[in-house]
């Protein structure tokens, strides 16, 4: 038996060594491309770049988008990138302490500034205090769902239904302080504008945490509509799912429909705030330390521009219905600040969760 064990050990060790071997040969080739690249942009790329992300989950869309882009960036930058899911607060604090050579950078989405506006992220982490890197990709799947047998099929119909049934209320499960709340605010303000206080007052909020919690809230009957996403909830909307857990999409907040899914956008349904279509695209972008080496920032920007052209990258993202959407670092700053201003306005006019849960 001892012999068998040692044989197995050998297999194991050789497997590890083989893996290392292939890895190091891979490193070798990328070293060369690094030199080639380095000569071109004259940037000194650190040997190892730590990408901290604003989510602590390795199952969420932030991780998937950062993982995909860094896998391709590694090659074009000729370095080794490691995605560390440490959560927003820790990620910002790591970024704050990071060196200016780019060995620690952050990857996050609109929550970065929405959190500041809603007060769930400290003000000192406002966009102004970082160097904004390129926008990389979009998750167009931010959606609202209801139980399969709900008497309405879209968000717009739900408001109409509420108007026609003065004794009813609708409770929406959202996660306070971020993407989920801003999407709800858009819907709420539109209902208030179009149908008046009386109808809007009958919309309540059930604040809760993760996607699983929101699903459970729907199944428990604690919520009638939940915020969710195409990636996370599509499985429950399919033909053949038990009616007890069956869901249906009521709309997505993205500007364009997502290919392959028959879900109307908020804009199509006529949902407007202040006379403008309500559109919210959840975009992912890099944040760099304020005093980052400009050569590094430029190299990263160029590399991202290259990656988004890569078809393999696009098809990787498409697996989970994400799409590449590159905005160069120069334009990204104005773009995001403007986007923020739009939503600041909505947040200012929207009621607080306290008022919505009374």
């Amino acid at each position: 038996m001892k012999k068998l064990f040692s044989v197995l050990m050998v297999v194991m060790i050789s497997a590890v060594l083989a893996a290392c071997g292939s890895q190091s040969s891979g490193d070798g080739s990328s070293d060369q491309s690094a030199k080639a690249n380095g000569a071109a942009s004259e940037a000194k790329i650190p040997d190892r770049i730590r990408v901290v992300i604003g989510s602590s989950s390795t199952g969420g869309d932030t991780y998937q988008n950062s993982d995909a882009v860094s896998r391709y960036l590694e090659e074009s930058l000729g370095t080794n990138m490691k995605v560390d899911a440490i959560g927003a607060v820790q990620a910002f604090s790591e970024l704050d302490r990071a060196d200016d050579d780019g060995n620690t950078i952050m990857f996050f989405h609109d929550m970065a500034y929405l959190g500041v506006e809603y007060g769930s992220i400290n003000e000192k982490n406002a966009l102004e205090n970082w160097k904004i890197g390129p926008v990389v990709s979009t998750n167009p799947g931010n959606a609202f769902l209801a139980s399969g047998d709900a008497p309405y099929d879209t968000m717009a119909e739900s408001a109409e239904w509420l108007k026609n049934n003065p004794d009813e209320t609708i409770t929406v499960a959202i996660e306070a302080g971020g993407v989920s709340e801003i999407s709800f605010d858009g819907y709420f303000l539109w209902v208030k504008e179009k149908y008046g206080e009386e109808v809007a007052d009958r919309i309540k909020v059930y604040p809760t945490g993760s996607q699983e919690d929101k699903n459970q809230a729907l199944w428990d009957g604690n919520a009638d509509i939940i915020n969710g996403s195409i990636g996370g909830n599509n499985e429950y909307t399919k033909e053949g799912v038990e009616s007890k857990i069956k869901m249906k999409f009521l709309g997505i907040t993205a500007g364009k429909r997502v290919e392959g899914y028959d879900i109307p956008t908020f804009a199509e349904q006529g949902i407007e705030v202040n006379g403008k279509e309500f559109v919210f695209d959840k975009e992912f972008f890099f944040l760099l330390p304020k005093d980052i080496d400009p050569n590094f920032a430029k190299a990263l920007d160029e590399a991202v521009a290259q990656v988004v052209e890569n078809e393999d990258y696009t098809s990787d993202l498409a697996k989970n219905a994400y799409i590449p959407s590159y905005i160069s670092a120069d334009e990204a700053e104005d773009y995001l600040l403007e986007k923020r201003a739009t939503f600041q306005n909505i947040i200012k006019n929207a009621p607080t969760v306290d008022e919505l849960t009374e």
Partner: protein
């Protein structure tokens, strides 16, 4: 009655509800424990008999305070010197402390163990598995 069984709170206050309940239970338990102790002591007739000693008699001051100091020092140097250097230093010193003498064998043993262990951890976890080390 219904009022007693209702616990209303605002969303923005919801983070204080449970801690308050737990704290009240904690205080109640503490009071119970004190009362219990007093009764027990009163029964045994040694109400004012306090002979609580924190450290065991004749405790090893050098090893104890040495451990505490080295642990704190290790924490402080981790980010300053990096994982490899500070770990080697820490392991070497704490091993010497625990062996308790400065004979050649002790020094060699500590040196070997500290360098070997730190290096293996650094290589396997830091390099092979690409874990972010201090």
């Amino acid at each position: 009655m219904n009022d007693f069984l209702t616990l209303e709170f605002k969303f923005s206050e919801s983070h204080t509800v449970f801690p308050k309940i737990v704290l009240s239970i904690l205080v109640m338990l503490l009071i119970l424990i004190v009362i219990n102790q007093v009764i027990q002591r009163y029964k045994d007739g040694k109400l004012t008999d306090f002979n609580f000693k924190f450290f065991t008699g004749n405790y090893d001051k050098l090893k104890f305070y040495g451990t505490v100091a080295l642990l704190i020092g290790y924490g402080l140097t981790l980010e300053l010197l990096g994982f490899l250097l500070s770990s080697i230093l820490f392991m070497f010193l704490i091993m010497l402390l625990y062996i308790g003498n400065l004979k050649r064998k002790a020094i060699l043993l500590s040196l070997a163990n500290s360098i070997l262990t730190s290096f293996i951890i650094w290589f396997v976890f830091g390099q092979m598995f690409d874990i972010t080390l201090p």
